[in-house]
């Protein structure tokens, strides 16, 4: 049976930097998204075809969802690039991770492709980016001292303790975001490896549907949790 490895396996090194199979599929995902964006940009027209109108519906749905959480369409448009990029990138990487060829095409004994989110580095990077960006956006929105004042509040021993808990909760957010995505995708990979080993024909179908569903939900969830963080940090308190 295929060896299940917690880390992404290294394919080759460039200088001292090791290129892993997770990194290869991440580059493929990036290329797919960039090429798709360029092709769509050339074909954009005032009278949209089916693909463009489908994508416009998707973007409008996401904007409405963000506006209903943030309160105003203007704020939704301001924070749309970050949240939508997180959503689209994680969704496409989860869906491409179930493609035929991922996990089965080998270079030597090591698979050439591996689902990107099954590598803790990928999910940890997204979680760190998300938490740092939400804090920076909070600082940009309410001011540096007001934002830092939430964490270091010297008015009261109780407020000071609450501020410390807020700092701990930011770090807990990094860990929980990264491990939620990693756990879901890695457990899905292990499950698919075992099922394909035991019963390769027809039986894996419900498990593949489950994996597609889980991939979509986890991408949506990561983006929504980032959005809720942004909405909490940029909320203007009226005292």
């Amino acid at each position: 049976m295929e060896a299940i490895s917690l880390k992404a396996q290294q394919l080759f090194t460039i200088g001292g930097f090791s290129v892993t199979n997770g990194l290869v599929l991440t580059l493929v995902v990036s290329l797919v998204l960039i090429v798709f964006a360029f092709i769509l940009n050339k074909k954009i027209s005032v009278m949209p075809g089916k693909l463009q109108s489908g994508l416009e519906m998707g973007v409008e749905w996401f904007l409405d969802l963000m506006a209903s959480t943030l309160g105003s369409t203007q704020k939704a448009e301001m924070y749309f690039p970050l949240v939508a990029t997180i959503f689209i990138f994680i969704m496409v990487s989860n869906l491409l991770g179930i493609f035929p060829g991922v996990g089965s095409i080998h270079v030597g004994e090591v698979p050439l492709f591996r689902s990107p989110a099954a590598d803790l580095n990928f999910t940890l990077a997204f979680a760190v980016i998300s938490v740092i960006m939400t804090n920076l956006l909070g600082m940009a929105s309410v001011g540096v001292f007001a934002h830092l004042g939430k964490f270091f509040n010297f008015k009261n021993p109780i407020y000071f303790f609450i501020g410390l808990l807020e700092i701990v909760s930011e770090f807990a957010k990094i860990i929980s975001l990264s491990f939620r995505l990693f756990g879901n995708v890695f457990a899905g990979e292990v499950l698919l490896t075992i099922i394909f080993f035991l019963a390769p024909y027809f039986i894996p179908l419900p498990f593949l549907f489950l994996e597609i569903f889980v991939g979509l939900i986890q991408a949506f969830l990561f983006a929504m949790l980032t959005l809720i963080s942004i909405s909490i940090h940029t909320a203007i308190h009226e005292h």
Binding site: I4, L6, S68, R180, F182, G183, I217, F220, L221
Partner: protein
Amino acid sequence: MDIDQVRLWATVASIVLGTIFPAIAIGFIGSTALKAIGRNPEAASKIQTAMILAIAFAEAIAIYSLVIALIVKFVA
């Protein structure tokens, strides 16, 4: 008991104990959400979004215990 037996028992115990409470929690979340939708069908989509978020939080705990089980079984 040698280390392989302990490893097996640890994997099984981790997954068994780690999924009981998240399952109960998700049941509670779902049932409260359904009651809320029943009382106020107009707010159904807002309640649904909040429910999905809460379920994902609860499920993350079960995922933590699954990751530990996988690490114990296949890596350590």
